[in-house]
Amino acid sequence: MLILECPCCGVLADETELTAGGEAHLKRFGPESSDDEFEGYLFRRENPRGVHFERWRHSHGCGKWFHAARNTVTLEVYGTYSAQTTEPPEAIRQKISGVAPGWKWRLFK
């Protein structure tokens, strides 16, 4: 069972209280982008064995979206952070580097 702390209301929320929102930090490509870019935005997703960044919604609680950094193998949660950002905060990156040195996720490492 996954337990994430919602950064908006501070609740330690059980997975069943949350809704998964898929991969985090997608860059949107719309009209006037190339076919490749649009295909990548629509379909290409990370499917890592290890460090992963996801979007979650505290749907049965405060209703807000947030980001979570976790490990898909160990199920360790590195932290949750605001949805209003385009990249993981430095503190969480450092924490991940401490546990999983050399990690890499799309553009982040």
Binding site: C8, C9, V11, D14, T16, E17, H60, G61, C62, K64
Partner: protein, 191 residues
């Protein structure tokens, strides 16, 4: 004249805890920047209480106010006063980016009381409801079995629950099952 009815007309169930539907309750949802002085002033005037902290609820004799999310408050008041209070609130918020709506008839309120009240609710919600972790003054929005609910504690043996009116029958049903005679767990050392 309309014959106003709450969702389940004061239905009740007696098992290891007493479950009551509390009838008509005035409720106003207020959304906006809860840190803004204008909104604070209007909200406290409408509820007759102070501002609640994060995940808290405050009550007075005539009303209450609960923290629903970083930009949402729930004001509780007697059903008959909702229209007046909402009008005053809307006036006070004129020109402010905020929304106040009467949601009294969209919700149902339940009370679960008795020495095993916490157990009954804990069977249905993924929340630590031990007296140490959840005490009077705390307010928690969560999932009750399959639907959304908000919970607060009146005292150590009384919990109140707000859910949507459309699922009131379901909530009453799951609470009644969870409160069946002989289903005590004794985890919180009730009593």
């Amino acid at each position: 004249m309309f014959d106003l009815q709450s969702a389940l007309a004061n239905a009740r169930f007696d098992g290891i805890a007493q479950i009551r539907e509390l009838g008509l309750q005035g409720m106003i949802t207020l959304r906006g920047d809860v840190a803004a002085p204008v909104l604070k002033k209007a909200a406290t005037a409408a509820s007759g209480t102070a501002m609640p902290g994060q995940r808290k609820a405050v009550f007075s004799d005539t009303g209450g106010m609960a923290w629903m999310s970083p930009d949402e408050l729930l004001i509780l008041c007697p059903y008959a006063e909702v229209t007046d209070r909402l009008e005053a609130l809307t006036d006070a918020l004129a020109g402010t980016h905020a929304l106040a709506v009467n949601v009294s008839d969209a919700r149902a309120v339940f009370e679960v009381s008795g020495p095993h009240a916490r157990e009954v609710v804990a069977k249905l919600c993924p929340v630590d409801l031990s007296p140490q972790a959840f005490s009077p003054g705390d307010f928690r929005r969560t999932r009750m079995a399959q639907v959304a609910a908000a919970i607060w504690a009146d005292d150590d043996q009384t919990l109140r629950i707000i859910c949507f009116r459309s699922v009131a029958r379901y909530v009453f049903g799951v609470l009644s099952v969870a409160a069946q005679k002989g289903s005590e767990v004794g985890y919180f050392q009730a009593g």
